[in-house]
Amino acid sequence: EKLRIDVYTAAWEKCLDRIKSIVRALHAPIASEIKHEIHTSYDQPLPGLPYPEIPVIGITDPTSSSTFLDQIAAHTDSFDLEKRDASNTVAFTSHLYPNDCNNVMSAMKALINGFVDRPHLLEKGKGRSGISLAKYDIETLLAWYTAIRDTYDLTEQCKPKLVVLFHDFEQLDPLVIQDIFSISSLYISRLPLVFILALSSPASPSYLHSTYPRSTLALLRFSNYTVPSGTKVLEEVLLRTFFDTNFEPDVIIGPGVLTFIADYYNRHNSSVDAVLNILQLAHLRHFSGEVLTLVVKSTPSSETLSEDTSLPFVEEMLSRLQSFNPSSGRDRSISSIPSLIAATDDARNSMYSRARQMRVGFGIVKLIQDFMTSQGYKGLDWDNSAKGVDIIDVMIGALQGDLRSDVKYLGTMIKKLEISQLGTLFGNLHTFYNALPLYIRSSEEEARMNVILAINAIPPSGDDGVPGVSPLVAANFAGWLVKYINNLLTPLEDEPLWDIWYTGASSFPSPLINPSVRATVVAGLLHPYDFAEPSRKKDEEQTDPALWELPDTSILFHRYLDSGKMLNIYDWFTAFQQELETQRKNLEERALAVRSGQSSPRKRGGKGKIKEKEKPESEEEVDRWQLEIQARFVRALQDLDYLGFLKHTGRKADHVQRVVFDMHD
């Protein structure tokens, strides 16, 4: 178990790092643009403007993922956090969160504190708070800024910018922000403030323009940047994580999960964070569901395997291996542990190389497709959003091995290409092969040679004398290519032990990440034990527990479902009481049985005791029992009320209205 967690962590971190670096690369151009904008924001004002404006940069990030803002903040803040010397500082950053901005005073205080609170740069002189400037006075900031410039001898040229980062700008009170803007505008000639607004609403209709009055907008010089989002990001992430020849994920994500990711991303939450969540869950599930995933990275040593505790593991492994090659498994005795290890290693190697081949094949198909579209041909119907065939579907197709028709089509397309186009295509293919990492390239050496041969077979350009050559070359090449790609793109399920490294077609359990609230609550009330002890689920699946075995709330809920539109509380209570009576009786019987089975000497005494108890059934005890029932009823009722199953209408005395009806269970 522990080992599997470790393997999981390693695999997931590898995947996560990859995705993070991809996302960072995607954001990098925008981030550097914004950085540039911050630095130059005061350099070239348009001459002739009536008054200086506050440079305001809006960052529209529809997914409101925090990663991008962190990136920006890191860009701007990295200068002043580490260095104790401010002479080269380009910008100081202050963060403003919605919680700080309940009124102008606290907002200004937070804004100023964000700058001023840098004791490593400049110690504040001692002064009595009463007679000195207020903390929320922008004059304080001015004094600090002047002091900073004097201390570090900053010239007029390299004025460090004062960057204010407004987080969750939509959450901020417009009235407060208006005042902040107008106050800042009064000081803008002396304090080089730059405001960055983190917007999550779409760029148009612009939130800023629809919310703030013109008089405020006139103080700003607003420029907007949009963080890349939408399906393009998802495609990029998936392509470069699972279909890039330069990267090998430990676990290959199957079409089932990919489909779910694509759907969830388009339908509910287009943020990279959501994709990360799903992928992580997929990893976790893969590793928790399958015992054998222990060997994803490496096989344990033979000493570990020969221990007694790992015996069931070894057996499982054996049976699985044998099921894959039933004929040969008998002959090659893999009963010994070293040979078992060897077989596993073989399986891992062949699986990974197959996956590599698959990626190479996919890469080639994509390359040819890109080439076709760039040459103005229609190519395959990819990226045709109207028909809904996008690159993700193609990925899924590649994994399932049903791209054959597409590949064939590409082949025919190649046959029809002009000779110059052929040359370019071959050149592209050649660079593709050369760009492959070394270990893949060696295995694809033959194909590379073939491409080079094809390149050589093309007559040098300008030599149009031989008309018959180009179709011939093209046909030969296309024929070879189709076969070759089809070889590369075979389903991964054929490999032995494939399900260790490949999640396959198993779909992603959507309730994990996107449960339906009501269905889950109702299911929880109907089958509470499914939730409480999932480990026991397998054994007890056949026998539904009887009603009296359920918790009180569930009992009450079952009775609730039996009723009409209005529930009479007293009737309900009676039904509940009956059930509790059976419960009590059964529990007593069970206790009796347990006791009798447990120890024979006590048996008599126990029985006697109970009989004794039952016999008198004194008034007092009956009362106490009644009270208990009432108490339990009220508590269960409260639970249901709290969950929102009851509606208190004053229409009928002692009645409540039922609100949940359509039960399909």
């Binding site: 009064l186 779409p202 006139a218 759907d263």
Partner: protein, 532 residues
């Protein structure tokens, strides 16, 4: 005459006379058009009065503060006193406010302290001028008197932020017994912010009319500051004639809509570089051709000829109103606009026929690419729009799926025709609706328009069951909350109320809803109770 005085000659004369002689204790200046300019004009005026050697009588010291920046009384006191004393707090000493030497009295605690502070400042200033006067041997008993002037901009804000200070501020002269005058500058009338019960004395009123067109043009032209740079830039001295013409035309275009000189200046700043660009191009080409001349006189930029001027105005007049349309509501900023609307190089040398007509404004395309939202969020937005515009009673007719589909729509038409003509809800603004109704409409929309795109789920057999599952998923609720945080949906119930469903209002316009519905192929007009 100096440019800052343009249009304000009367004010300047009046104010300087008053200040110099016997200022009323409380002056109220009312200016609707552009208080910002008025404020700076008054500041410059007072500055002049202060800096010119005291002619008639007294030394004048003034402080100008902005009521928005002074959020609290303490800030107001601090800034007035500091400015009067010309004191700038030093960070290294812990930012102390101005105070008398060796005195640690607080002046910002309450109004009483403030009055003491004012007295202290006044005597401090008097002492200072005395010292100065002694040195110059010009000491007179009258000259060492000090007169204080306090100007408060955006005075209308005082009523909101510091209402309790309004009365004492207007009576400051009585309270301090100093030679002092308070000027409130505001864009609302004194009647609107006057404290009740006549607690304040009536001010000396000065009402400023909005500037006339001619004055604005004059100000614009005076603001043309020729650059010292000898190389031909847009603000070259010899282009001034062209600029004055440009300014006149620009004001002709803009004045019917905008009276604020600052705004017109802003537009001018954005348009002028582009306007003059062809002339500069021409000049540069000329220079390149006549490289061998080496005559500095020749290299000077000549004022353009009348023909050029006419061609330029022909070329650019259309873009002036475009600039007004985009820049006045600040849909974009001047710098970006100027960069975007740069004319093609060498426009003057091109034949008129070759010059492309104005480019199409990219207004529509931005609308289409507007909402990069997930599919479910778009459905939710359309559902909020419908819930906010349709009356609640109509839902079952609009969305109920009876046996006969046609019946629904016909009935709708009939009802819309029959009633008395009412203003459609679409124009009255959105109404609030509970979350449940939103989910119900969402379910109806999904059932009609979203079934094909879903993943296969064989476990749902009853019709509508899948939709039911979809609408009650966590992601839907979180999408609603997220859209609320984007202010695309407004929440009308307070967030801390648990009882009952929360209610919302739609935050998108009809156009946006229509665009969204089109993307999702929802027939929005058919689903609206009274369609457009």
């Amino acid at each position: 005459m100096e440019s800052w005085k343009f249009g304000y000659e009367e004010l300047c004369d009046e104010l300087s006379t008053l200040i110099a002689n016997f200022p009323p204790p409380f002056i109220y200046i009312y200016d609707t058009a552009c208080p910002r300019i008025t404020g700076s004009t008054i500041a410059t005026l007072l500055d002049r009065i202060v800096s010119t050697d005291p002619g008639p009588s007294k030394r004048i010291h003034f402080a100008k503060v902005n009521a928005i920046a002074c959020l609290t009384a303490r800030l107001l006191y601090d800034s007035i006193l500091n400015v009067l004393a010309k004191w700038s707090p030093d960070w290294n000493d812990g930012c102390p406010n101005w105070s008398l030497e060796g005195d640690t009295q607080r002046f910002n605690e309450n109004f009483d302290g403030f009055i003491h502070g004012l007295r202290a400042v006044s005597s401090h200033l008097r002492d200072k001028s005395k010292v100065k006067g002694k040195g110059k041997e010009r000491m007179k008993s009258e000259a060492d008197e000090v007169r204080l002037v306090i100007v408060i901009e955006c005075a209308e804000r005082l009523k909101e932020t510091l209402p309790e200070l309004l009365v004492p501020l207007t009576r400051l002269t009585e309270l301090t017994q100093l030679d002092l005058s308070v000027i409130l500058l505001s864009e609302v009338r004194w009647e609107a912010i006057r404290p009740p019960l006549g607690a304040s004395p009536d001010p000396y009123f000065i009402d400023l009319p909005p500037l006339s067109k001619e004055v604005i043009v004059q100000r614009l032209i005076f603001n043309f500051t020729p650059s010292n740079d000898l190389s031909a830039g847009p603000y070259h001295a010899s282009l001034k004639g062209l600029y004055s013409h440009f300014a006149t035309v620009l004001c002709d275009v803009c004045y019917p809509f905008v009276h604020d000189p600052l705004e017109i200046e802003y537009i001018a700043a954005a348009r002028w570089p582009g306007f003059v660009q062809p002339v500069l191009d021409e000049h540069r080409r000329f220079l390149a051709d006549e490289m061998d001349l080496d005559d500095p006189e020749q290299a000077q930029l000549e004022p353009p000829a009348e023909v050029v001027r006419m061609r330029l105005s022909r070329l650019f007049n259309a873009s002036l109103s475009a600039a007004l349309e985009e820049l006045y509501p600040r849909l974009t900023n001047a710098t970006d606009w100027a960069a975007k609307n740069k004319p093609e190089p060498d426009l003057l040398s091109a034949q008129p026929a070759e010059i492309p007509r104005g480019k199409d404004q990219p207004g529509k395309s931005s609308e289409a690419a507007a909402l990069a939202l997930p599919r479910m969020s778009r459905f939710i937005l359309v559902a909020t729009f419908l819930a906010s515009t349709n009356p609640g009673k109509s839902d079952i007719r609009m969305f109920g799926r009876g046996l006969d589909e046609k019946k629904r729509r016909r009935r709708v038409r009939k009802t819309t025709k029959s009633g008395p003509t009412k203003v459609p809800q679409r124009l009255l603004g959105p109404v609030a609706f509970p979350l449940d109704r939103l989910l119900a409409i969402l379910g109806a929309l999904l059932e009609e328009n979203d079934v094909e795109t879903r993943l296969l789920a064989p476990e749902f057999k009853i019709p509508g069951e899948y939709t039911d599952m979809e609408t009650s998923r966590v992601a839907v609720y979180s999408a609603v909350m997220e859209l609320t945080s984007m202010r695309l949906i407004h929440r009308t119930t307070p967030g801390d109320r648990i009882d009952g469903p929360p209610s919302f209002k739609c935050g998108i316009s009809y156009d946006v809803a229509l665009a969204l519905a089109k993307e999702l192929s929802i027939p929005l007009n058919d689903l609206m109770w009274d369609p457009a």
